[in-house]
């Protein structure tokens, strides 16, 4: 049984026609199910949890990358299959999953090609892309196997990556080539600031990857609580244990899918 979840931004009038077409196409392909619109008052995790209890086996998010990333944790915990129908802006992730925008995504759903992806797990919360810390880095340490990594004062951001995809107009660092969503590993990147000479002071114009570690478990500790941002939306606090959960997420993908950036 399919459960379709529509993101809040799809309430806008400009999306009405697309959604109508979409529903007709789903009917034609005989992959109908329950349709639910998200609102600010509805908790997506509770909604999916309840539907899984009622027998849902496939959750399809209708929206963009953010919608997809928000449901990762609850979908992984309930061991159901996840699909996406990309609509609107910010669908770079869907492109890497090989899912085209709008109506054509229904054909991908109907074909039901399922791939198992690794997920990152931070304490007991799952994430798909990355987790970042960018405050007071010299006050933390990262333990891996039998050694400890201590960031210096020039460190700007710590990122642990499961899957990387470049957002629109973003030029990826070559180190991201190491990130694969099916290699049973996580990549730890430590970044420093790139500065350019300004009139009075040096300006920060970007970041560059300074250090790279690969592994299946990282233990992050700090002298104070530091905010950890997961998949660019969920915030947790240190101390955290970050590990990879191999083949945890079932996703419906298209033929043009890529595990890593090209």
């Amino acid at each position: 049984m399919y459960y379709y979840i529509y993101d809040t931004f799809l309430d806008e009038k400009k999306y009405e026609k697309i959604i109508d077409k979409l529903k007709t196409r789903l009917l034609d392909l005989d992959i109908q199910g329950k349709h639910e619109k998200l609102t600010l008052l509805k908790n997506v995790e509770e909604l999916i949890g309840d539907e899984v209890k009622r027998g849902t086996t496939t959750v399809v998010v209708v929206g963009n990358d953010k919608t997809f990333l928000k449901v990762i944790n609850v979908v992984a915990k309930n061991n159901v299959t996840l699909g996406i129908i990309p609509i609107g802006e910010g669908n770079d992730l869907a492109r890497y999953l090989g899912v085209p925008e709008g109506e054509s995504a229904c054909d991908i759903l109907a074909a039901r090609k399922i791939i198992k992806f690794d997920l990152g797990k931070i304490n007991s919360y799952y994430f798909f892309t990355n987790m970042k810390i960018n405050k007071n880095l010299p006050r933390m340490s990262i333990e891996k196997d039998e050694y400890k990594i201590i960031p210096g004062v020039t460190c700007y951001e710590v990122e642990i990556c499961n899957f990387y995809y470049p957002r629109k107009d973003e030029i990826p660092d070559k180190a991201y080539k190491k990130c694969s969503v099916r290699d049973r590993k996580l990549e730890l990147f430590i970044k420093t600031k790139v500065k350019a000479k300004g009139w009075l002071h040096d300006k920060v114009v970007g970041m560059k990857i300074d250090s790279v570690f690969q592994g299946d478990k990282f233990d992050i500790k700090s002298f104070e609580y530091l905010p950890v941002v997961l998949d660019d939306y969920k915030i947790m606090k240190t101390p955290v244990i970050v590990e990879v959960e191999p083949e945890k997420l079932n996703v419906i993908v298209g033929k043009e899918r890529a595990d890593t950036i090209i």
Partner: protein, 140 residues
């Protein structure tokens, strides 16, 4: 001298490659199945089945074991290399070296003892000798 090359990034799905940049410090036993590039500080031990590159600004206080090593920074500790070790003009080693071949460029600093032999055979000379004697006896 040794910059982080494209090669270090190229092997996306292979062994675990490690790049220790100049902004961090590593303490403990660093064991890796892939290449290790050190531009920062390491204290403890380093073991890799592949290549170790120590950059110009790097500072290592550790015993090192690798297949190949290219040293442009400072290393304080014993180094055991299966194949080749290359000490660049900016490199400094304070410790003993055990390797198959050794290249030291002018300007480099090396304080220690060097043993030029195949590291894999150093550990078992008696056994080999024993085998040779047995062979001789069996020919009789």
């Amino acid at each position: 001298m040794f910059k982080i090359s494209d090669e270090a990034y190229a092997n996306g799905n292979g062994a675990e490659d490690t790049i220790i940049g100049s902004s961090i410090k590593v303490e403990g036993d660093l064991v890796s199945s892939g290449n290790i590039v050190v531009e920062g500080e390491v204290t403890g031990t380093i073991k890799t089945e592949k290549t170790l590159k120590v950059g110009e600004g790097a500072k290592i206080v550790a015993n090192v074991s690798a297949r190949e090593a290219y040293i442009s920074g400072k290393v304080q500790g014993n180094i055991e290399v299966q194949d080749k070790i290359e000490l660049a003009s900016t490199g400094e080693i304070n410790g003993d070296i055990q390797s198959k071949s050794l290249i030291i460029l002018a300007g480099a600093v090396f304080n220690g003892k060097s043993t030029m032999a195949d590291v894999r055979t150093i550990a078992e000379p008696e056994q080999e000798q024993g085998n040779a004697e047995n062979d001789y006896e069996s020919e009789d």
